[in-house]
Symmetry: C2
Subunit: 142 residues, 2 copies
Amino acid sequence: MRLRFIFPSLDFSCAVCVDIDGLWLIVKYMLNYQSDLDLAFQALADPTRRAMMERLALGPASVSELAKPLPMSLPAVMLHLKVLEESGLVKSEKAGRVRTCRVDPKALSLAERWIAERRQMWERNLDRLGAFLDQTKPESEE
Amino acid sequence: MRLRFIFPSLDFSCAVCVDIDGLWLIVKYMLNYQSDLDLAFQALADPTRRAMMERLALGPASVSELAKPLPMSLPAVMLHLKVLEESGLVKSEKAGRVRTCRVDPKALSLAERWIAERRQMWERNLDRLGAFLDQTKPESEE
């Protein structure tokens, strides 16, 4: 019951077909998924890091291009970049002396999907409640 | 230029039509929007709070219903609930001795929209780059 509460989207009806190794793999996947979401939302909770994501959404940029409009030192920008890279939202590679950063859309999609699924579940349940109230409305009110 | 970097989606072409009070209102709105997003992403960065949101996406619940499957004390659950309420993601109201919690989809939509817009910007820029590379491909490669 506890697992069903924490992971309502997991289909438990097929659990009997999965051996202990398979089950361990599923749990490991879910825990990684949790931790990926922790890191992605944590990274997006800061306005400087969101400003850096806004810039990178327009296309790849070097670290100094990213830092230029921000009211802080280059080492501070590098720390924010580290958080973005650890969350998987941004990838960077060095060519010569220039490190170029780009958005990795995978982690962004993961966070977007999590929110969208919760919102859709909530809206579906609101619709069901509306339909139920319509059906049970006393005839005199119609 | 700095403002355009931080808020690329704001249309600066109409700035001349806006007086100082209007401009102040826009800046105030953008700062509130930043802070709303900070709080929403911060609230979603914790697996316990996401588990509470998963439960609430299925429909309203009392605090004790929310706390029941979670491996922590009621006061700890109340603290997580406080973070969710302060972020605007959850609303609660007390009737008699029971406090009922429900999702407020507005803050959820705000966070979802921010991510979706960044992802779409990135994809549009990737498409443009693809089209540019197709156009500039040497004829011998076709």
